[in-house]
Amino acid sequence: MQRSFLLWMVCGSVWFGVSSLYANDLGVHVGWGSDNGRILFEQLNCTACHADSDAAPARQGPRLGAVGQRVTPQFLRAFLENPQQLKPGTAMPDLLHGLADNKRRETVDRLVHFLVSLGGPMDQRESGSSLTQLERGKSLYHSAGCVACHPAYEPPPKHEADPATAGPEEAEGQEVEESESKRAVVRHGELAMKTTVDALADFLADPLRIRPVGRMPSMNLEAGEARLIAAYLLRDQYTEKESAPGVGLDAALYSGVTNSSVPDFEKATPVWEGTTTDFDLKKITFPDGKPLKGNFALRFQGLIDVPEDGLYRFWTKSDDGSMLYIDGQTVVSNDGPHGPTEKEGSIQLAKGRHVLELGFAQGSGGFELSVFWQPPSAKKRSAIPPGVLLHSAAAMLPHGIVEFSVDPDKAEQGRKLFASLGCAACHDTTQDTTPAVANKLTARPLAKLSADAADGCLGERVAAGRPKFGFNAAQRAGLRAALNRSATAPLTPSQMVEHTMQSYHCYGCHVRDGKGGPDDQTANYFAYEVVVDLGDEGRLPPPLNEVGAKLTETGFAGMLFQGQRYRTYMATRMPQYGKQNIGHLPAAFARADVGKIPPYKPEFSNRLIDDGRQLVGTKMLACINCHAWGDLRLPGAEGMDFVQAAQRLQPAWFHAFLSDPQKLKPRTRMPTAWPDGKSFFPDLLDGDADLQMDAIWAYLSVGRKGGTPPGLSPEDKSILVPTDDPIVFRTFLNGVSAHAILVGYRQRTHVAFDANRIKMAAAWTGDFVSTKPVWNGRAGQYAQMLGSDIVRFPEGPAFAVLESDATPWPEDLPKAKIGSSRTREGWRFLGYRYDKDRNPTFLYNLDGVEVAETPGTDFRREEAVVFRRLRLQANRSKPNLMMLVARGNEITRAGDHFVVDQKLNYKISTDNQQEPFVRESAGAHELLLPIRFNGQNVSNVEIELTW
């Protein structure tokens, strides 16, 4: 592997060099079209020096507050000497071109001392990496989307031609270099001299922190991913002559050398060697890619970097044997053939790095390995976090390392130069409490500029002291044109969209109105995260033709500013350019795209929610065969989560898309469910296609409250999911009763009845109940109400005969010597009866009053609702019977309903002019309903609780 890697490095360098040849002609890499003067004007921050108005100029250059921590002195020196040479295409002008050589060198030297004093000098010898990490970084760099703007260093992977693509034939045998030359790319410059893996990884994890303009966006990388890409970009630093700690452990896999006991590794030859970030056996496979199996052994070697002095405890759980050594001492001995067995050990360690080795052996049968530790000050044990385990990796050393120490006098001179030369106009040097160096260079205000001046910034011979950019002729022309037209004149929404998309090179990935999109060569770098049958749609960023009429404000925000990954099957991510830079874009899209989708207002009713749920389920359109629903998905269903759809999408676009997917998204895999406007399900909603689409929209618009689609069930199979009929489930329910009867509804609002105290006890929304605590093993636990928003009905009996409105509400009969608290004497629970929809009606007798109570719920968009319909039949006169509906700290009347503690809304309907009232009792508010019977001794009550 090593040899092939070196070969690859050589090749990479070769065509890196070739493509560099073209750099000088391209001029400054700012305006992607090279000639768009307005973009150049904005992105070069011209107004930082040439004041446009009274507005304080913004500093748009890289923030240099801690530049010494991340850029090497040697790079700073070389770069300041000649920015364009070191990084072709850079927006950094040469400000020293007018100085004599020795003066120029001195100025650079002072500036370097100043810049390095800002947090530096950095430790250039603390980063290491393995070939494996470089390989992984290579693949991530080329698939995550970096190559949309930056050079590709590898030929693209071959993709099966998408059979749905009616495009031109793939050009075969095309050379990478040739294609490379055709597109404008931002070169990396002499990165290998510039920084270290650790520092570059920090930068990649959040580039906008350093470069606020957002032209280097955040790619939503995990910390580990940033390090892989950093290591890859700095691959020229790789040297096996020195070593430095790399993240993760060295691992070696041996086959057929063990009988369940850790072998003598020195006598065996590994079948695979590499690095691993932890002890997860699932991450390791045989060289042929097959999962670990049978007789094998593993050796993990490296360093453990412990944070403090003290006694460290370690645990291993292994099947079969394992041995853990630190600094040559046995810490946990867990060897020999056995099932999953946990052993413990401890060792006194000083803060710092110690040599760690773990041997693992597997004979036959199942296998597992987990390792835990507990540092001296930790309260409990945990997995060993990433970053603590290190291996001795090949060093990644910046090129041209020279010993450097900051000379304070020179640094101070440099600080003054930084102000007077104009550096401070663009660069912010704020550092903790030290304010930024103020700019002392003055230039003509914008209004008084002469674009044609021969010695100005745009001139052929830039005068000494003025910035010399690397403009080519087209750029000069563009800038002049922009200045003559007033570079800050307002733009129409469409112009603004185009302008912004050009500035941030959105066109590198996205097509809009026939413009942009990756060229055929670049397109091939986009890869699947999960292989999925979506064709090119599964790996290429989507077209943006009518995106302003497609996404909602929420959808834009999630995509552009919150780093949401909606298309989880794509390897690339939506870059984050910063709200401060493109915050105007959603509104511009929306205004630019008005009228592109015909207006449409879907019908909405609670009934439609359930029809929509049925439609997306496996018995009807089976949308869930491809789409995830929240965190639930069928095996292989890698499509977008459609619970989010109604938040992301505008209803008119949704309707237009469902009506004819191909029209909006040519070649999409999304099928047409209503061909020629005809439904496959003529019995549902009279087969009305629009109404059926509205039903799906209604269902999606209430999110998870719409209930689980038929055919989906949670990964945790122990959770009972009502998808059609209600589920009645009696169990020991935590916090309610040993006599609980739960009723779960597909609307995802549920109730629990207590058959011991004979009353409705609680209601909640979300998941229903898990059977695990009461079905697994001996099941010595109580079931829990899952989900959230649990509403508990008041303590005490639900009904009571009160002598007066002031009589305190009675309590349940207290528990005797043994036994549980029960409700009133003479009250009996009688059971329940199912109606034709399998909804139960609870039956009970309150000392002569027969009660039938039917719970229920409904689909609602904004709230949860529970109905309690009670029919009371007295077999004798029953005066002064009251129902305790609610109790709270504060109950107020609001129109036709009562509000309890500003959260629960009770609406009470009765058939015998019964007037609910609120009273204060025992420091609380109680909502009471007097029960009045009609001539047949019957009273009907309906309580609607929403929250």
Binding site: I727, F729, R730, A755, V774, I818, G831
Partner: protein, 523 residues
Amino acid sequence: MVNLRRSVTALLLFCASAAVAQQPPTEDDYYRLVTIPLPDGVVLEVGGMDWLDQQKTRLAICTRRGEVWVLDNVYSDQPALAGQKLKVKNEQGKTVEVDPDPQDIVRFKQMLFGLHEPLGMMVNPGHGYPDGIYMAQRTELTRVVDEDGDDLIDIVETFGDRWEVSGSYHEYAFGPKIGKDGRMWITLNRPFGGGQEAQAYWRGWAITIDNQGKMTPICPGLRSPAGLGSNQAGDMFYTDNQGDHVAAGKLAHMKLNTFQGNPVGLASVDHPLSTFENPGKDYPKLGLKWGEAMKVNPRLQAPTLWFPYPRMGRSQTDILYDSTKGKFGPFQDQLFVGDLTTAQVMRVFLEVVDGEYQGVCFPFRRGFQPPALRMAWGNGGSMFVGGSSRGWGGGARPYGLQRMVWTGETPFEIHEMRAQPDGFELTFTKPVDPATAGDLSSYAMKCWTYNYYSNYGDKPQDEHPLKITQAVVSGDKRAVKLVVEGLSPYYIHELRASGVRSADGLPILHPEAYYTLNAIPQK
């Protein structure tokens, strides 16, 4: 094709018979097992079984998961599921797949879900009880009704809920079964964990509920009474599981105003409904051998018989007396008792001595797939055995259902064992060979007793061999009188009759017997 399969079956049976001549027969030769296949996703943790129809064609099953199922076509010898193929050998000896006959396809229909661990079932019990399916859930005796005959339960009626539940997982309720009093009997497990004391009324009791739903507590002292049932006379027995105060699994007779030995139930004697009066503050006196304990603890009920642990099971369950009138073999009126952990069914013969039942247990049939938690008689000399091992192990499968069918061959077994003033009288299912049956060396006996104390289970105490002085074969060669020296009351008397052969030369299929000799008859 059908004929082919039938002939294959016949051939297999023929081979089995042929083997009898060469090798000692096994349980399979007399009682074979047919496994009922379960559809995907059906976890049939059988908790109770009964028949929806008098013809016994529709088997209703309640499960620990709270379901009620009805199964049709349960009598097939080659039961299959809808959509399944059967593998059979054709004339060339090749395995081929065929569709099962429609009558071989077991149909499952769920009638109800959501009950709280029902552990017993009776359908249309008569005796003035309204028709319906009765099941004891943890919290109540429930009657459920399918009003319109669509195999979906429409009404779930609380028939009796006056016993209490505190929320311990160990608070199971078993039953109902009907005794000669015409009432439904239910046994209530004691709670477990925590302080292990009762935290709710009537835990550790047997109770009855009459046809008006009224509860009468019968007797305290039960520990983990996983099975109950009557004998032919309608007297009610229950089985208890080894544990605290219970030296080994046992079978005991439930009677008013008796105490079965586990003190948890005594916490309820102050309740107005209690039918048991506590004889004294320090009741019961513990730490004695059972014979001694019986003398100092009034109204303590001695176990009718002990099931020595673990040979005769580790957690005894259901009780079913043989009411098949010979269709299930020669054990009319004897009791069958299941065991969960060892997945076997044992056989019990009881007699009355000095006014109390006592008797003997024999191994009967081992090797069930599901733990043998519940048993029900089917048609044509077959018994359905089902169960769930949840949390306690047992059986080759954690749950399921099998049908045990008598092949029509009578096994050579000790049929009855009766106590005599000076020994025991054995009768056999087939004539004996007088030479071996009369030979003293064909027999071995020993005896032991147990402590009555609070420890969890007990080892045999004072275990010693017994001397058999005579073995007298009756004239009809159906019985043997054993004269034994040193019989001890309240001792378990173990007999091994390994040397005895039948007239046609077979050894006894299960030559061991365990007689709990609470009382020695005077004549």
